[in-house]
């Protein structure tokens, strides 16, 4: 009896041991190891030497770092607004029974399943200054003046890439809001109509507040994904021209794997991690709250 009891106590650990060890080795451990590497001058070949905070001091003075950080902030600003507004509007419309809703939904969902590399290539071609669809269309309708070198103009390029990110993201936001709308008690909406609220008032004062938890999740996840932005930049411009479309993830990759400044790259990764961790904690906090309600 004693034996079975101790075995019962061991049971959860038996289930956990293999996956948890794998996770600790490949995911959790490396996070700490990157902190260590960021304090060294590792070049990928020789043994790392400890150089204190020098990588960080260098980073603060690096103009590419400033551009990348600014671009990540632009990315975040766009991601927490534009796809959220479009996604929410679409969810509100498509939550009702309208003709062709299924087809419309599928059109907005479909970019989600494409690899970012694929989207990057498709859009890169549309942005092609001489032969692409966008300039081609502008010239066709006589707006030649608006035709641009979308990916070669250093003031435009970041926005041009963010547009691709938005294009791909709207479907995701829509899915979450549609699920949120499904879970709203229709009686609450009816009650506000009975009280004489018009559609906008009902949305503003009843539906939108009820969708609050979804909005928090959407915003937090959008910020985290903005900080992960890599594939589109890498495939469309590699951060160019003259680093004007560089983002932290891409900057880190280039420093570490193209310039073999791995210690320096690790320092960039740590900065990226520190920014993300604020939002990871907010997310965990939300989950902790819902757990407590159980």
């Amino acid at each position: 009896m004693v034996r079975t009891k101790s075995l019962t106590r061991m049971t959860p650990y038996l289930f956990l041991i293999v996956p948890l060890i794998i996770y600790l080795i490949w995911v959790i451990g490396p996070t700490f190891y990157t902190f260590y590497l960021s304090l060294t001058d590792w070049d990928g070949l020789t043994t790392p030497n400890f150089i204190n905070w020098r990588n960080y001091q260098k980073l603060l003075k690096d103009p590419v770092f400033h551009v990348s950080l600014k671009n990540n902030l632009r990315w975040i600003a766009c991601f927490i607004t534009i796809p959220v507004v479009i996604g929410l509007a679409l969810a509100m419309i498509l939550n009702r029974d309208i003709p062709g809703a299924k087809l419309i939904k599928a059109s907005f969902y479909s970019p989600m399943v494409l690899a970012l590399v694929v989207s990057g290539l498709m859009w890169g071609w549309m942005y092609n200054p001489a032969h692409g669809l966008i300039n081609g269309t502008l010239r066709l309708v006589g707006l030649d003046a608006l035709a641009q070198g979308w990916l070669s103009d250093k003031d435009l390029v970041m926005w041009a890439i963010i547009v691709v990110g938005i294009w791909q993201r709207v479907g995701y936001v829509m899915v979450l809001y549609l699920a949120g709308l499904q879970s709203i008690d229709p009686r609450l909406v009816d009650a506000s109509k009975v009280d004489g609220a018009n559609s906008w008032q009902t949305f503003r004062h009843v539906i939108f507040p009820l969708l609050g938890p979804v909005t928090v999740i959407v915003v937090v996840v959008s910020i985290i994904d903005s900080l992960r932005a890599f594939d589109l930049v890498s495939i469309m411009t590699r951060g160019g021209p003259y680093n004007s479309s560089s983002v932290l993830a891409n900057f880190m990759y280039i420093e570490a794997f193209n310039n073999y400044k791995m210690g320096y790259g690790a320092a960039i990764a740590v900065i990226l991690f520190l920014i993300s961790s604020v939002f990871i904690f907010i997310y965990l906090w939300r989950i902790l709250q819902t757990e407590m309600e159980y």
Partner: protein, 279 residues
């Protein structure tokens, strides 16, 4: 509501027209790619994008498939994705069961470790995982990539499956326990069948995510003949710099598997996204 009744209001009809236009706008990139891939590059470069195609061709797909290497890259994607998917689902269903159905010290801490890990920026893992993979002798092999995907995706899968497993009524499991069923049999024969809907949802999502990974395949692989289709497309882009017909044809071919998954398993895909973000 019938279509006739729906369009009886002019405002609603106008709104619907705007919606239809935005929807079409969303499909423009696909349209652009399909139009380009089915024409010859010369035709587009000399005539411009908005011109009637002289002829429709399939040769670009053939070129991308054969000389462009997609006949290698696409199977590689499956060789990497399917084992990663199977392993991560198997392992995460174990940890999810422990976290969902047992009270023990550290339960919540471990659960939060999984969730926190799944949201990490990849850059913070790149160098150590690169070094680890190299030290294990797995650099430039399928297994290096499979090991990473399996490990990293444990976070999301455990999170989602654990939440789902918590909703299974405890009486079923209790009854089996009283009948003397071992915990591993309860997990495999009772919990797993009941969790199948969630497993289907998470598998659909994970298939797409692992299949579409680009960053890790350029970090952990070097040989061209091992590359999955994402890294392969990047190579194709370098090989056919100005030949956009072949590049778009390759891009379209690369999407066929995930698009098929989406068409046939859309319900699970959407369910997975919903389960992953809400509770």
């Amino acid at each position: 509501m019938t279509a006739k009744k729906f369009f009886s209001s002019p405002w609603r009809t106008l709104g619907y027209l705007i919606l239809a236009m935005v929807t079409l706008l969303w499909l423009v990139p696909l349209f652009s790619a399909v139009v380009t891939a089915t024409r010859t590059n010369d035709d587009i470069l000399t005539q411009g994008f908005w011109s009637l195609p002289r002829q429709l061709v399939l040769s670009n797909f053939k070129e991308a498939w054969e000389r462009g290497g997609l006949s290698r890259y696409l199977p590689n994607s499956f060789i990497i994705t399917l084992p990663s998917l199977t392993l991560t689902l198997f392992l995460s269903s174990l940890s999810a069961y422990a976290l969902a159905r047992f009270r023990f010290r550290g339960n919540r801490l471990i659960f939060f470790l999984y969730i926190g890990g799944m949201m990490l920026p990849f850059q913070v893992l790149l160098l150590p995982v690169f070094r680890l993979t190299d030290a294990l002798g797995l650099y430039d092999t399928y297994w290096g990539l499979i090991a990473f995907h399996t490990a990293f995706q444990l976070g999301f899968c455990t999170f989602l499956l654990r939440n789902y497993m918590r909703t299974v009524p405890g009486e079923i499991l209790e009854a089996a326990r009283i009948d003397g069923c071992s915990e591993f049999r309860i997990w495999w024969q009772i919990m797993m069948p009941l969790t199948l809907p969630a497993i289907a949802a998470v598998a659909t999502l994970e298939f797409t995510w692992i299949f579409n990974d680009y960053l890790w395949s350029i970090i952990l692989l070097r040989s061209d003949n091992l590359k999955p289709v994402t890294a392969g497309l990047a190579a194709l882009q370098g090989q056919y710099i100005m030949d956009w017909s072949v590049i778009t044809a390759g891009a379209l071919l690369a999407t066929v598997p995930t698009v098929l998954v989406f068409i046939f398993l859309q319900r699970y895909f959407i369910e997975g996204l919903t389960l992953g973000a809400t509770k």
